[in-house]
Symmetry: D2
Subunit: 363 residues, 4 copies
């Protein structure tokens, strides 16, 4: 395996397995003289932490982060910032059966075939636990973005077959339910729904939406580091994600040119748009509008239901995963979505600066 | 701008503007001793060529490719392969108005704001013309993949609001209609539909589906160069693409764990799967099943309809784009889809070899 | 082969063989709105051009460069700049014997063993001809550096066993002799010396020195993209280069700490240094002093003298290379030295800008 | 700062400051199923450890390494391997004066000017301590190289003005003196010499030579990842290194073509060479001969002698560095030299495999 790093200038390398000694990351490319302490990072990790309610895995992890380098007297020094979280609740005995067989829908089989060996405990490197370090890196990315006044926030807009009602969309609702749901009516329905899924020992997928407001016009690097291409890779690299869209996304296929055109006008010397079908990105470059993206998270493959599978010894078997798992891992993907958006934008912020872009901040 | 390159080991760098002297690319990382001639590449370029029927732009381009380096006595030498296509039909006078104003939904404004200058003729670097070089690189990628017996093919499964009927899906149908449509009944309907769009001076979006059969198990590089993350970036980097999904994609959000699990079994000493919700990729690594992906192409922003816009001089205006354009640029995205799949797979084929992966070709 | 590119943000990809159709490069990452025309590049290519006098190869190449993309209305657009030079005087028949045998000291054997095939005509990709594109890229790099008032110049300080007298060092002398020699007395001796080498059908090595004045303090990216590490790689990547040193280089091994320390003082509110043993780089970062580097070029391996060698068919033979060659290829390495210095500095200029460095331009 | 990583496929990222909590690295790209334990790494760290005799700094560091990820049941899993060493003897009070002033010849000033802040304790990130993680990574690289039977070893061939006598060169001598000196007679002289330097509170430079035997023909990636260019960057990135040469290096400038040619012959069906002026690399590709390189280490800038310097507050001052330092830091560079050679070769071993190179292992 290689490529446990992402980003070009703001660059993050993650390491660690679900049930190893620790997980960690190295965040390279952070400008100097930014104030940074562990609490700045911890607040975001706490949002992603498991076992905060009955709707997420009951694994108890305090996810207490340590800064091991790159910060001196409370500010970044420009050197690489190493972060580490010790693994605590490693109930590895739960994973006996998985050692010799493959969970359908999980990376067990592909890791086995590729590497010939795998740390089967808790999914090892393919565990959602890796995303904790993305959240930590995202906290540092937000420091890089702070001067721009960018607001990044994500929410869950669909759980299983149940979509929110867009008319009721309210960012303020997100913090008042355990699902980061912007529709408080739907959030109530989800409680019963997910409780049922959980009791069945099953799991369910979700759709996450993430916005970045106040991104300056002119960020992005065509052709092959387009802002949307980087976001697509960033979100698709999150475990269990199977789809990504920007702006109208798949719905734009059904539109005609005049419907899709975000008409432009001037207002008080600035450029305005009548709509945002493009999701704030044209030609791979930010337009200055809110960047909007959505991604789909498939249901967790670790379920109590018996499914047909095989062992590495060549036998057929019926598999049932007994460990502690997330009935809807999409919930914990919400802070991860924000973090990946922050990391991609921080990278492009630094890149844009290197070229002196945008040339024309406001037209 | 930077990052006009993609790929890690099999690496392609493209250059050129729609109405410049020429467009070209450098394909680096090609193993030596592969047979290669211009005709090998030309056949794929001919599939993408404009003006083949009334449904694509009437710009006449023979798109004749030259190999300038890296091939000697009919075989690759391991040195970089430079390809070039001269631009022929550069009717630049069509673009006068665009020079001073911005097409809503196009990259005109973002390029202008980012760079302070742009080659407005035909969209310059943001033109779909850039994709010709992806198709050329894809032809070379197929040479790298040849020993594996991989079959790559793409088709259009939705035009505007009209989706194909999956029950009628037939790859053989694709070459018998001008839309690469696998549903011959729907293809007929699309003729009238797109003719209407064209006559209206409008445009329409589309959804493209691409398959790669017989990809070995064990290709892909978790965590940040997952096969699906690389595909997402590759497709999203194509002009006008706004969404990408792998396997069940967005539909997987609505599934429960037991529905999404692709159950496994042994058959004649090999691993088999009862379904392919995963689209052939788990944990970022190929499963050995057919890799399936879809992406959405938005409608071309160059339309004859008047839309509200602005000039770079600070005036409001009504814009109408008179040049020759594609009523459904998705049609020409089909060969591009195949090419990007081929390039990503070629890159991962070489990467997998460097590690001696897969360890266990068949379990 | 891969990695025909160098640079991180200011990034150059070269292609082409000595006796192919053409050679070229793509320069990516160039900021927009820099004035650029072919003459800006041609002036530097003319310095490196062969057959300018009897001391370089008699191959006649006008080395006329074309800009194929990335420039519009006389300024860079921020898109990749493709450059191309057609090969003219390809007297390939000279190379018949080389096709089946290996010149000792040349890359013939290693290319053959690595790739199993090679374009033997004129050394193919391993020819010094590739360096023309470095010179072209260097001309663009100088445009990036122009606002900083940086002066880059190189000279030859040793030819064979004959070193210049440092006491006679005068940059102005360089343009008055065919060797870029800063010591006009030594330049005269070299004329006879090299004439003798040439008539013997032999060749001789050289040492090139390159300076960059007025580089701001604070450029460079420790630890693994140190300015000196990047320069070392850049110079060592030039054909025939076998050694690189910065500042006192190998001589610093013989110094004691107090001898090597470049003492510091203030003068008119600025930092001054009593000496420059460090060659303008400390900790991989520029000090604001003149950056000084030297590299050694080995003698051309293509000589008329018979040397013991082998054929690819497994036979011993005596080899004698009849083509037109440089008796001292170091001469033509002088403009290449300047170009590589310019490219490395342009890359670090853009990088430094991305971080807002230096924080303290003058202390 | 960014680029705290090196290598393309076998890729190492280091982090940590001299007097921070810990130092560490992440080694990415390691193939799976290699046996690896902490003792495999520790043995090499012990060679570099300070305070092993009176000739190195008296800082007491056990340099005990921990493997935090990437190894399971005693073998590598293909996931990133995180290594960490806790810092123990951080006598930071020694560094009070350095906080406000700049050691001439040290990176104090450049870091200050670049970042506006620095961890002055023990040199922070610019400390030789960073090289411990290179040695650790090198131990893993050796595991990758094990199947090839490659022997890597380094020695010190010059200390200050005193060079070894090449006629007395004996690898076996190296382990019998505290200097890794291959000339046992010279080693005795160095003892007195360095003792004098040490008592004077001064320091002295050195030259290190490193060999890699049995490297297969065909490793290396022209043009810009030539094996020698990569080695040059790798060695030049080591703190205090100012010069690098391959094979005859600077001496090759004085040679004529026929002297420099390593004549070739066949012996028992294999290719042989009459000499090795090239240092085992031609055209950036290994020839199959022993790879030989040398680099110069300047004298440590931390000395007890007073030197003229300045404070960051704008005052002139006389500086004298009181901490514990290496009178000849070149001694501890010897294991680092081996490690960097191993890392570069491991990277190229994996790269070569990806292309199926060499095509012709023995001609």
């Amino acid at each position: 395996m290689t490529w446990n790093s992402f980003g070009r200038i703001f660059r993050c390398t993650t390491w660690g397995e679900s049930h190893g000694v620790a997980i960690g990351c190295v965040v390279d490319g952070v400008p100097s003289q930014l104030s940074l302490c562990e609490a700045d990072i911890q607040q975001f990790l706490d949002q992603r932490k498991p076992a905060q309610n009955k709707y997420t895995t009951q694994r108890k992890e305090s996810d207490k982060v340590s800064i091991l380098s790159g910060v001196f007297d409370g500010v970044t020094t420009g050197t690489p910032i190493a972060l580490m979280i010790h693994n605590e609740d490693q109930r590895s005995k739960d994973y006996g059966e998985i050692a010799q067989s493959f969970r359908p829908g999980h990376a067990d089989y592909t890791y086995h075939a590729k590497y010939g060996v795998r740390d089967y405990r808790g999914g090892g490197r393919s565990s959602a636990r890796e995303t904790a370090m993305r959240v930590a890196a995202g906290a540092i990315a937000r420091k890089v973005l702070a001067p721009y006044g960018i607001i990044i926030r994500a929410c869950m807009v669909q759980m299983g077959e149940h979509k929110i009602d867009v008319a009721r969309f309210d960012w303020n609702a997100c913090s008042h339910n355990p699902f980061w749901c912007p529709d408080s009516v739907m959030a109530q329905q989800w409680e019963d729904y997910l409780d049922g899924i959980r009791k069945d020992g099953s799991s369910v997928g979700a759709i996450i939406e993430v916005h970045a407001e106040h991104v300056p016009v002119g960020w992005g690097a065509p052709i092959y580091a387009k802002l949307d291409a980087d976001l697509a890779a960033a979100f698709m690299s999150i475990n269990a994600v199977k789809a990504v869209e920007i702006g109208d996304g798949f719905a734009s296929a059904a539109l005609r040119g005049e419907q899709n055109a975000d008409e432009m006008f001037y207002t008080e010397g600035k450029v305005g748009f009548r709509s945002n079908h493009a999701g704030g990105i044209l030609g791979g470059i930010s337009t200055g509008q809110t960047i909007t993206a959505r991604f789909a998270v498939k249901p967790t493959s670790s379920i109590l239901t018996h499914v047909e599978s095989i062992t590495s010894a060549g036998e057929a078997m019926q598999l049932r995963t007994k460990g502690r798992h997330d009935p809807c891992v999409g919930i914990r993907a919400v802070p991860v979505a924000e973090a990946m958006m922050a990391c991609v934008l921080a990278d492009h912020a630094l890149l844009a600066r290197s070229y002196g872009h945008p040339i024309i901040p406001t037209l």
